[in-house]
Amino acid sequence: MNPVYYLYLAALLFTIGGAGVLIRRNAIVVFMCIELMLNACNLAFVTFSRMHGNLDGQIIAFFTMVVAAAEVVVGLAIIVSIFRTRHTASVDDASLMKL
């Protein structure tokens, strides 16, 4: 088996995550889909690392995880505070910027 299949899998997971972002309304689920996309990217990075025979790809994946962690912390905090004020976690309801 050629390891390039990992890349196909990563592309597939990324696309599924993207579709999820588009069709789900629950902000938490949307967030999960974003995490899924990030993970798909990480898989691609790890595969590239193996392809090139050096560890730089893994380092990038590592940084992605760190950033994802920070993002989750802030994002979930935002969801919680939105829920507190508006009693909903639907991304469609957060449309106050529209005139």
């Binding site: 588009l22 991304v91 469609d92 449309s95 529209k98």
Partner: protein, 627 residues
Amino acid sequence: MENLIALLVAAPLVGAALLLCGGKRLDRTGHLIGSLFAVASFAIGVALFADLLGRGAEDRTLHQYLFSWIQVGGFRADAAFQLDQLSMTFVLLITGVGSLIHIYSIGYMEHDERRRRFFGYLNLFLAAMLLLVLADNYLLLYVGWEGVGLASYLLIGFWQHKPSAATAAKKAFLVNRVGDMGLSIAIMLMFTTFGTFAFGPVLAATGETSEGKLTAIGLMLLLAACGKSAQVPLQSWLGDAMEGPTPVSALIHAATMVTAGVYLITRSGAIFNAAPDAQVAVVAVGAVTLLFGAIVGCAKDDIKKALAGSTMSQIGYMILAAGLGPIGYAFAIMHLVTHGFFKAGLFLGAGSVMHGMNDEVDMRRYGGLRTYMPVTFITFGLGYLAIIGFPGLSGFFSKDKIIEAAFAKGGTEGWILGGAALLGAAITAFYMTRVMLMTFFGEKRWDPDTTHPHESPKVMTIPMIVLAVGSVFAGGLFSVNETFVKWLEPVTSFEHGHSPVSATTVTAATMVVLVLGVGLAWAMYGRRPVPATAPRGSLLTRAARRDLLQDDFNHVVLVRGGEHLTRTLVYLDHSLVDGAVNGTAASMGGLSGRLRKLQSGFVRSYAVQMLGGAAVLIAATLLMRGV
């Protein structure tokens, strides 16, 4: 001596400023101050003239540089004066005749409460005209040109309480504006063609310039001259301008204003010499106008309007002569000077008659005045003899030369022009005799109970006498040894024309038509009593009374046409311009309304758009790599 040139202009300008800004405390002395500054200007002019005479014929051009007026990049205009023989002639005419008219006005305007202001305007008129003839470039000339227009507006409308005077002033101003446009376009053309508009470089460079451009410039200059000199087709203001006080008419017709056009064409002689097509236009305008004015003059019963028609006709002679090129320039100017004398005299005489007749202007209510105002009769009579070209008087010499030069043009053109000039001379003799007979001869047609004709005071008659002397002797003086022609030759250049008919024949022909014209007038107005009310007259007479339908023509063609043009333009503006603008706005609005729908505020819609964008990017990348 060069430094005196600016003083020529400055003197009347200071006078105007003093009188117009001085307020009521100058009311009692205003007329004296105004006349003083005019005479001072004349004195300076005489001093400069003496200086010029003391020089050789080639050094008679003086320059005075005042300051750099406008300088932007390659655009340069100086406030600088140029005094040469041509300018000198005009300076003497303007200041001399102008001063006499100032003095005359002291008496004529004695009872007018706005006399101070009147003299201020007169001074302004002189200053503007002097600036016009002394400028050393076309742009400064333009300033004087506009100044003359302004002063004429103020003076024609001086009795602004009369609606007719206010309207006439506006009419004069508007018609003049048309000509001014021509001059400004001509100046712009000069700048693009020559890169300058100083007389020296422009006139020296005509040799290397294409004839087309010169023709365009020449035609624009002709348009300008038509406006100021009341030539067809811009002649309509002159008759109405008689609404102004009579001294103003004298000033406009004799010394200033209408002579500006002749000056412009003569000054720009080099341009016209190099553009024969423009010259043809000039002589055509001159010939048409001299007949037009003469015919109008025949039909008018208003003494001033008859004289106005005469002016138009005489200026037509000058323009005709100026259009003939080097064979005519000198005679145009010579006729201008002699005309300045006798026309000023005639107008002042007419003013004197009106002064004694309770401001009556209708000649049908005059008659037999020669015994009541003898000085006026004699001076007016001398002016009359001069204008019809009575042998030995001024007009004889100058007009005869013009007719000769017209024949000398050669070919069919020469015959037509010469014929027109001769015909004009006959008509001139007719209408001037008519004026003379109706005014001073025949039985009294005025009411002796209400009207007490009397001679004018000395302050009015003395200028008339001086002008009458000029009318008698100027022409002869100028013609002895061709003095005048030689004087002007360095500026205007001169060639003897080769006439197909000899000078003697022309003179004889002139005499014949003169006698014919006078005889016809005598037959119609001398032997028969003149009816106090005008008979209906022939079709031509009625048309001529209406200035040969000039105003009707202007109304139908220009006013109506202008209205229609304006309406069309307004319609186009509404439908096309506004339509385009509003259409753009509406389409932008509609597009924005559509695009606004994209901004739904829903994060997921934005996410769809982002994903779409990303997909497009990937597709583009793949395509670029040549999938």
